[in-house]
């Protein structure tokens, strides 16, 4: 039932400017894959190439093993949910849902059944007679998803579908989309710039930068073993701390402080440590540095400390629970050496 997608050296150029530089990726049937990256990294372009909305300049796009480069969008078995929802403003919700099926000349009774079923799944039955302008943002989003569902496509594509919603609704819809994936079991590709969405929803995350895949894999794999500085900094919130260090035999030197992480540090120029892996005062593990506390945010469940090392490097620390840390004081910070990430001068992880 589910469908596989494979990209082989996929390229996109506008005139002389190449924006997607030969992407290789394979998506297993039924996977929920998230393309994530900063603005302009090419994630939406890649999605639109898969959808058939952007011509492919080079390489191959295979869906279930068949080359699809020149196949029109409508014949790829794909439905897409747009960031703007792209609902037809002059049609009722019912007409919006039915449009694609009417285009396919499906019998009226079958259309009614399918629309009804999609409306039930998304709980939008009372809205079927309304026009899009009479709906809230969240309801429009549901209709947009409904329009994709009724066509019973092989693949669902989502282009930043939650970015126009407020924070609370975004979390709710995130859960619903994940649940929809569980229920339907289709292959889905989801584009976002929000790494939290990526971490919470994905079976597989693809991190893109400047038209190149920086790393792809399971969310926790990317979190635990980032391949380079970019992925390390992009995945995780608050982002990973980076300290400039130099290798000194088996030890590392940060400013005037020297310490060992218990493994080879040859070539290391940057040390990365996640804010949640640092302990203060009563910490165990290696003594990483002494930091001066600049600001403390008490969030109730967590305490976020913004500090500066004695040689002037910024450091964010997330402590569990409600902790008393006085701004202005200097405290030692510790970290479990197995949680330390090391990167060489090219920004690649040293494993």
């Amino acid at each position: 039932m589910s469908t596989s997608i494979e990209l082989r050296q996929l390229k996109k150029a506008y005139g002389d400017v190449e924006v997607i530089h030969g992407v290789d990726l394979s998506i297993a049937p039924g996977d929920f894959t998230v393309f994530v990256g900063p603005s302009g990294c090419g994630k939406s372009t890649l999605l639109r190439m898969i959808a058939g909305l952007e011509p492919i300049t080079g390489g191959d796009l295979l869906i279930d093993g068949q080359r699809m480069n020149e196949v029109p969008a409508a014949r790829r078995g794909i439905a897409m949910v747009f960031q703007s929802y792209a609902l037809y403003p002059h049609m009722s919700v019912y007409q919006n849902l039915a449009f694609g099926l009417e285009t396919a000349k499906m019998p009226k009774a079958e259309i009614a059944t399918r629309v009804q079923r999609a409306a039930e799944i998304l709980k939008i039955e009372p809205l079927l007679k309304r026009k899009p302008k009479q709906l809230s943002g969240g309801q429009r989003q549901r209709v947009a998803i409904g329009r994709a569902i009724v066509r019973e496509p092989k693949i669902f594509l989502f282009d930043e579908p939650l970015s126009n919603l407020d924070a609370e609704l975004r979390v709710a819809m995130r859960v619903e989309i994940a649940k929809l994936h569980n229920d339907l079991g289709n292959t889905m590709i989801y584009v976002t710039h929000d790494q939290v969405e990526a971490m919470t929803m994905a079976d597989k995350i693809v991190v893109l930068r400047a038209g190149v895949i920086e790393q792809s894999g399971a969310p926790l794999d990317l979190y635990n073993n980032p391949r380079n500085l970019f992925v390390a900094g992009f995945i995780g919130s608050p982002k990973m701390n980076f300290l400039s260090v130099s290798a000194d035999g088996d030890a590392l030197r940060a400013g005037s402080h020297t310490f060992s992480v218990g493994r080879s540090v040859s070539g290391a120029t940057t040390l990365g440590v996640r804010p949640e892996h640092i302990t203060v005062v009563d910490g165990t593990g290696i003594h990483l540095a002494d930091v001066k506390v600049d600001l403390v945010e008490n969030l109730g469940g967590q305490t976020v400390v913004y500090a500066t090392t004695t040689d002037g490097q910024p450091m964010t620390i997330v402590l569990e629970g409600q902790r008393e840390v006085a701004p202005g004081t200097t405290v030692p910070i510790h970290v479990d050496p197995s949680k330390v990430h090391l990167f060489n001068a090219e920004g690649l992880a040293i494993r």
């Binding site: 959808a51 058939g52 909305l53 029109p72 969008a73 409508a74 014949r75 794909i78 439905a79 897409m80 747009f82 703007s84 792209a86 037809y88 403003p89 002059h90 449009f99 694609g100 285009t103 396919a104 302008k133 329009r147 066509r151």
Partner: protein, 314 residues
């Protein structure tokens, strides 16, 4: 205390009234001074003549002697004893009914072509708009007369194919059509507005439709046209009013007569003949007011029906 209070307000009342005006003038005087040129124009050149023409429409007036009040007899004559009135009305209605939809369809067609993101768009836009600027001018009407005359350009081209064409402008079967073609040729201004309207339709609507498998043809009928209806509505109203008011081309091409056999006797042309040919100012004023009522009726009718076919976004 009560007496003292009344006295106080009594004394205050008069100066307060004076100062209310001077305060108003202080606050708004400059604004009204800036408005003055427009106000003079509006009252002196628009509203004044309108009101006096309404009065004159109930009189017999030849410009030389003072108007005689005749009641509604101008209007009675128009609808009961003036065959030229009904002829001119028929010619104008025919012109409106054919020229407006054809012009709008043509304007929309060209706008759709230009909207496909072609190179040199500003140049084409300017070129296509040009006839709208020139179209109602005397020079173009004269040119039109020569193009459609018996030995005009059209017949010279037809002669190349061995066809002997009639004199289009002096044949009552075709003369009005030459004016309709002239009107369609001035499609530039509705085209510019259509083009702006087309630009407003979000691209992702078309992308969603193409993913749904809708052909270009279906996209046009199901998405472009419905979303363009506010612009179609606006253009239809403006062009209908323009068509009712149309005068210069018919005047020049027929030499002011509305011939052949009154086939180009536009309502405005007949009005002009009555006013400045026969100096029947009272009757001409009545004709003008009937035209105004007719245009108002068409406009109101369009607005009333618009809720059934015009789709506004919000």
């Amino acid at each position: 205390m009560a007496v003292a209070h009344e006295t106080t307000t009594g004394i205050d009342a008069a100066p307060r009234q004076q100062s209310a005006f001077s305060r108003f003038w202080q606050q708004n005087g400059a604004g009204y001074m800036f408005l003055l040129p427009w106000l003079i124009g509006f009252f002196g050149l628009t509203l004044g003549p309108m009101v006096s023409s309404l009065y004159l429409s109930f009189t017999d007036f030849d410009l030389l002697t003072s108007p005689d009040w005749v009641g509604a007899s101008n209007y009675v004559r128009m609808f009961t004893a003036d065959p030229k009135f009904s002829t001119s009305m028929r010619v104008t209605m025919f012109f409106v009914i054919f020229s407006v939809p054809l012009k709008l369809a043509f304007a929309l067609g060209v706008a759709l072509l230009l909207n496909r993101g072609m190179k040199g768009l500003p140049l084409y836009r300017a070129l296509f708009y040009l006839p709208s600027l020139l179209g109602a001018s005397v020079a173009i009407a004269i040119l039109w007369r020569q193009i459609f005359a018996g030995d005009g350009l059209v017949n010279k081209v037809l002669a190349l194919f061995g066809i002997v064409g009639p004199s289009w402008i002096s044949n009552p079967n075709y003369s009005l059509w030459t004016l309709i073609i002239l009107s369609i040729w001035q499609f530039g201004s509705p085209m510019i507005i259509f083009l702006a309207g087309l630009r407003q339709i979000p691209q992702d609507m078309y992308e969603a439709a193409s993913l749904d498998g809708a052909s270009k043809w279906r996209q046009f009928w199901k998405i472009t046209l419905p979303l363009l209806t506010p612009v179609v509505f606006f253009n239809a109203i403006i062009q209908t009013i323009e068509a009712f008011k149309s005068f210069t081309p018919a005047f020049i091409i027929s030499g002011g007569t509305g011939n052949p056999i009154n086939s180009t006797l536009f309502y405005t042309l007949y009005l002009y003949q009555e006013a400045f040919g026969f100096f029947r100012m009272g009757y001409a004023s009545a004709l003008a007011w009937v035209l105004l009522a007719l245009v108002a009726f068409f406009t109101a009718f369009s607005f009333l029906t618009s809720k059934y076919w015009v789709h506004y976004d919000d």
